[in-house]
């Protein structure tokens, strides 16, 4: 019986390899239709990381599309969690990632980018300012405009109470992968809030969706840019402005004494140290790539609403030729 199964399998394998001339690589590099004044990619595929949030898909699919059409590149997109990607770039298994949040990857930056033997280089700004903060749905402010800042929140925290928190107000945390100092902020500002582990982006989104359908109070950790901000209309609660003291506190294990807003995250790109020699044209293009939160959101919302990544990217590309043509490196470079 074993012999039977094996024989069949072997026979099939032989057949498959023997008559495999048809369409084995239909998706190979598309026509490089654009003008000759644009630098062209080499023959090796450029491998871009696609992280799990929709904004990252937007970055990568637009970059890939432009590189394929204008520079004749072969681009491979690898969906991967944002933490393993650094190790992969160091080893040259990935060439680039396009949206790194500094607050999330402080340790990776130290180990892989700042350390010359780390194998990863800073690829310049993405052009988008990331912003982590405390958010409430806008309808909460209709009844309680004072919740627009933390001073107004103080004393009224029980408005956000849930069975999980009893008399205290609930503050919903999110994916622990993102940097968070909420407990320290709550303690330092003396707020009667209880931090509850949301656990994931999906958890935050579900809580948001549930709150919106039932018009329930919700106070949560969230961030922009994010398609949900377009869809749900969230308002950020003002916290005290970021200070050097907070910057110092952020480096301690418990962030004790951290009593202000999250620092702005200047999102940046990161490349494998080998990319520049492997493919100078792709390196130049990816270094030039910069766009705005509105650009990214227009693509991300389309993806979320059901367009494929490629369709959504193409729509933006068709409408924004000026933006992306500035990224193209000249042929002589």
């Amino acid at each position: 019986m074993w012999a039977g199964g094996t024989a069949t399998a072997v026979a099939l394998v032989l057949v498959m390899t023997a008559c495999s001339d048809v369409s084995s690589s239909t998706s190979a590099a598309a026509t490089s239709g654009a003008g000759t004044d644009v630098a062209q990619c080499g023959s090796e595929p450029i491998r871009l990381a696609v992280n799990k949030w929709v904004g990252a898909e937007a970055n990568a699919s637009v970059a890939a599309q432009v590189m394929r059409e204008q520079m004749g590149c072969t681009v491979e997109l690898t969906k991967i969690d944002e933490f393993p990607q650094f190790s992969a770039m160091a080893k040259g298994e990935l060439d680039a990632t396009l949206e790194v949040w500094p607050s999330v990857h402080a340790k990776d930056r130290k180990d892989y980018i700042d350390d010359p033997s780390g194998g990863v280089v800073d690829g310049g700004k993405l052009g988008i300012l990331g912003n982590i903060g405390w958010f409430v749905p806008s309808y909460v402010l209709d009844d309680h405009p004072e919740f627009a800042s933390w001073e107004g929140l103080k004393g009224e925290e029980s408005y956000f109470a849930t069975p999980e928190t009893g008399d205290q107000g609930q503050f919903l945390g999110s994916d622990p992968a993102f940097g968070y100092f909420d407990q320290a902020i709550i303690d330092s500002l003396g707020l009667n809030l209880k931090w509850v582990a949301g656990g994931s982006e999906a958890g935050s989104l579900a809580a948001l969706d549930k709150a919106y359908t039932a018009n329930e109070p919700l106070l949560m950790y969230f961030w922009s840019p994010h398609w949900a901000l377009v869809k749900y209309n969230l308002v950020e609660v003002k916290l005290p402005p970021f200070t050097d003291k907070c910057a110092a506190a952020a480096l301690t294990p418990d962030a004790a004494g951290y009593d202000c807003d999250y620092a702005d995250d200047v999102l940046y790109k990161a490349f494998s140290a080998d990319l520049e020699t492997k493919d100078p044209a792709a390196f130049a293009f990816l270094s030039n790539l910069q766009w705005t939160a509105d650009d990214q959101n227009s693509v991300a919302v389309a993806i979320h609403d059901g367009s494929s990544d490629d369709e959504a990217a193409q729509q933006w590309i068709d409408a924004n030729q000026d933006a992306w043509s500035a990224w193209l490196p000249p042929a002589t470079a």
């Binding site: 019986m1 039977g4 199964g5 024989a7 069949t8 399998a9 026979a11 099939l12 394998v13 057949v15 498959m16 008559c19 495999s20 048809v22 369409s23 084995s24 799990k52 929709v54 690898t78 969906k79 991967i80 969690d81 933490f83 393993p84 990607q85 190790s87 992969a88 160091a90 080893k91 298994e93 340790k107 990776d108 180990d111 350390d115 033997s117 780390g118 194998g119 849930t162 069975p163 999980e164 994916d175 622990p176 992968a177 509850v196 582990a197 949301g198 656990g199 994931s200 982006e201 999906a202 958890g203 935050s204 989104l205 579900a206 809580a207 969706d209 549930k210 359908t213 039932a214 979320h304």
Partner: protein
């Protein structure tokens, strides 16, 4: 019927009740029970006054060492010989193997793969399985996840082959030498219980991203059943048979090849089946390291809050799992009996002719699809999606069930979860550990008592006491809720074969559906929090409880029941006095398995608001604190070992079972599946057809 074998551990007169049709009434135990309960309550009240938790100065820094290792890896991964001349070639080899299989499967085209899968299944497992396998392959296409399905299938195939190449020799070794088995057992326990997440990300440091780390992690997870069931089969060969073989002058090697391995084959086939199922269980989590495939489809749906999208991938996984499970099960059963020859129009078709025919048909299908239809992937026009209706159902329940969900949430938190957590965290550590130790001692003896105590003490030593108690409280609540639902449903299924038949596909789907798919609806109803975590765990653990209960009740001999009826027992009396006592080993196994299942989703529970250990592990791993992550994983392992050994001691179920499952302390799926497989063939009139 294995389960009726008399229990070897004398538990409260169980022997008496198990041994015959006549049921004696044991002496009223209530007085003693009440005394015990009162005593426990007093002790707990005193405990709450004492210093709570575990003293910090006794905590060891296990985590620091892992951090040092990780830093070393990051520094050296581009230059050190360990990476350049050992790990990199391994990684490249794995990647090539995986890519090769994906390539072959894709080039077979959708028609060729469908026909080929059907033909192969037909040869090894009969024409029914041929239809099932073909339909399963087509389903991937119809749901629009063809390419993803191919990637996943390749990942499963390659990892199963590797797991068997490693597992079978190890199993033979363990089967022949008890000492080897003793060394392997805790390692295998660890491989099955430590959450995959704990070692998946470290795998990336060694094996890069994409297929290779996913393969390694899958092999780690899928290896134990291959080892265990092989060892079991080898050890199950009767010593008489071996002596005969010796007497005829066979060498050790001949005995192994000609006697032991063939006789161990049924058990080894179950090992193959289990290895496949475990490998499929890793598919979703593997997408975190870039393995792609169906897991990615599910994961994408989750991050977009799109239940329907996740469901497309989820159903494809379920169908693949069910088909692979049924085909390999049928194959292993067939390998025991002589296969009836295939007859077409009165003429017998030999085995060789069947194989030739299958190969010819498959080649024809491939050629037709490539040359005539000029297609490779499944044609897009024929695809459909379950996304829209599924999302509509979710919307509806969100609109209509929120009130009930809110009430459940409130009641569960305030009346159950909070008090239990406060109690476990509020008493000193030695009281919890001592309680477990005392229970172990009373159930089985000093050794188990010490072991249970040591497990809890170890949690304290590693510095995760408080959060482990938080997790433990959620686990207990989820287990109790699961059993409260599972036992009545299981009894109903045992009473009504029609109900059982209707339930079967549902249970199959629940068991193989990746948890990520139903997390979103649970989240949308309950919002992230401990309630959502408990509910998701219950959904995950329910099928095992139901199946084992049904199995136990069905296993009660007909004569016993007839005797009871002859004495004029009502249905309720029969159930209370005859069926439950006799089904006790099976029901206790259900308790044991439910606990293991709930523990295996602790991390996932952490992702939807369960907090505690699951959250800490995830937090640590995503923030490159591999040490903290592994310590969290070990904490779960220790809770699991303690609860597993204690519940196993309560009923002797795993020992009493024969056939494919025996005394090696099978991991969760293995035991459960073995029982379900048995149910299917026991021929008590209620198995599947």
């Amino acid at each position: 019927m294995a389960v009726q074998a008399p229990s070897r551990v004398p538990v409260a007169g169980a022997d008496q009740r198990l041994s015959g049709a006549v049921v004696h009434t044991p002496p009223n135990p209530w007085r003693r029970r009440i005394a015990w309960a009162a005593g426990t309550a007093v002790v707990l009240l005193i405990g709450l006054q004492l210093t709570a938790g575990y003293p910090e100065r006794w905590v060891l820094d296990v985590q620091g060492r892992f951090v040092a290792i990780e830093d070393w890896i990051i520094q050296n991964q581009r230059s050190h010989w360990l990476f350049t001349s050992i790990l990199t070639p391994i990684t490249d080899g794995l990647r090539a193997a995986l890519d090769g299989v994906v390539d072959i499967l894709s080039r077979m085209t959708w028609l060729g793969l469908t026909i080929g899968a059907a033909a192969l299944s037909g040869i090894v497992a009969g024409w029914r399985m041929a239809v099932l396998a073909g339909a399963a392959v087509l389903t991937m296409g119809v749901l629009g996840v063809w390419d993803e399905g191919i990637e996943t299938l390749a990942l499963v195939l390659v990892s199963v082959v590797i797991a068997l190449l490693l597992g079978v020799p190890l199993g033979v070794w363990a089967g022949r030498r008890p000492r080897a088995e003793r060394v392997l057992r805790p390692i295998l326990d660890g491989m099955q219980t430590i959450p995959a997440f704990s070692y998946l990300l470290p795998c990336v440091l060694f094996f890069g991203i994409g297929g290779p780390p996913a393969l390694i992690a899958t092999v780690i997870f899928a290896l134990p059943p291959a080892v265990r069931l092989t060892a079991l089969g080898i050890r199950g060969v009767p010593s008489g048979t071996m002596e005969v073989s010796d007497a005829y002058g066979a060498t050790k090697r001949q005995t192994m090849r000609k006697v032991q391995l063939p006789l161990a084959k049924p058990s080894m086939m179950l090992g193959v089946n289990q290895t496949i199922m475990m490998a499929l269980g890793m598919v979703v989590i593997a997408s975190v390291v870039g393995a792609g495939g169906l897991g990615q489809a599910v994961y994408d749906g989750l991050s977009r809050l799109n239940v329907g999208q996740a469901l497309n991938g989820g159903i494809a996984i379920v169908v693949m799992a069910v088909a692979l499970d049924r085909v390999t099960t049928a194959w292993s059963q067939r390998s025991r009996k002589r296969t009836r020859p295939l007859r077409v129009a009165g003429r017998e078709i030999g085995r060789r002719a069947q194989i030739l025919l299958a190969v010819a048909v498959t080649i024809a299908a491939v050629v037709i699809c490539r040359q005539v239809l000029v297609q490779q992937a499944f044609p897009e026009d024929w695809t459909t999606s379950v996304a829209a209706p599924a999302n509509a159902i979710v919307r509806w329940s969100q609109a209509n069930l929120t009130g009930i969900a809110k009430a459940i949430n409130k009641a569960l938190l305030i009346w159950v979860l909070n008090p239990l957590r406060d109690l476990l965290q509020g008493v000193p550590w030695w009281m919890v550990a001592g309680g477990a130790g005392l229970l172990g001692w009373r159930l089985k003896g000093l050794r188990l008592g010490f072991a249970a105590f040591a497990c809890f003490a170890a949690i304290g030593v590693m510095g995760t006491w408080d959060i482990s108690m938080d997790t433990l409280s959620q686990v207990i609540v989820a287990v109790v809720l699961s059993l409260l639902l599972a036992i009545p449903i299981g009894v109903l299924a045992a009473w009504s074969p029609g109900f059982e038949r209707g339930l079967k596909p549902l249970l199959d789907a629940m068991q193989t559906m990746p948890a990520f798919v139903y997390l979103v609806p649970v989240l949308l109803l309950f919002a992230p929090g401990r309630t959502a975590a408990v509910i998701a765990s219950v959904v995950y653990a329910l099928p095992v409880g139901i199946r084992l209960t049904t199995h136990g009740i069905n296993g009660v001999p007909k004569e016993t029941i007839e005797a009871g009826e002859a004495y004029g027992s009502t249905r309720g009396q029969l159930l209370r006095k005859v069926q439950f006592p006799l089904a006790r080993p099976s029901i206790l196994l259900a308790v044991n398995q439910t606990i293991m299942m709930v523990l295996s989703v602790v991390i996932i529970a952490g992702l939807i608001g369960g907090g505690a250990l699951g959250f800490v592990i995830y937090d640590a791993l995503t923030n490159s604190e591999i040490g903290t992550g592994l310590v969290g994983g070990l904490s779960i392992l220790f809770i699991a070992i303690a609860l597993d050994r204690l519940t196993q001691a309560m009923g002797s179920a795993p020992r009493a079972m024969r056939g494919p499952v025996g005394e090696m302390g099978m991991g969760m799926w293995t035991k459960m599946r073995a029982m379900v497989v048995q149910t299917g063939k026991d021929g008590n009139g209620k198995g599947d057809g």
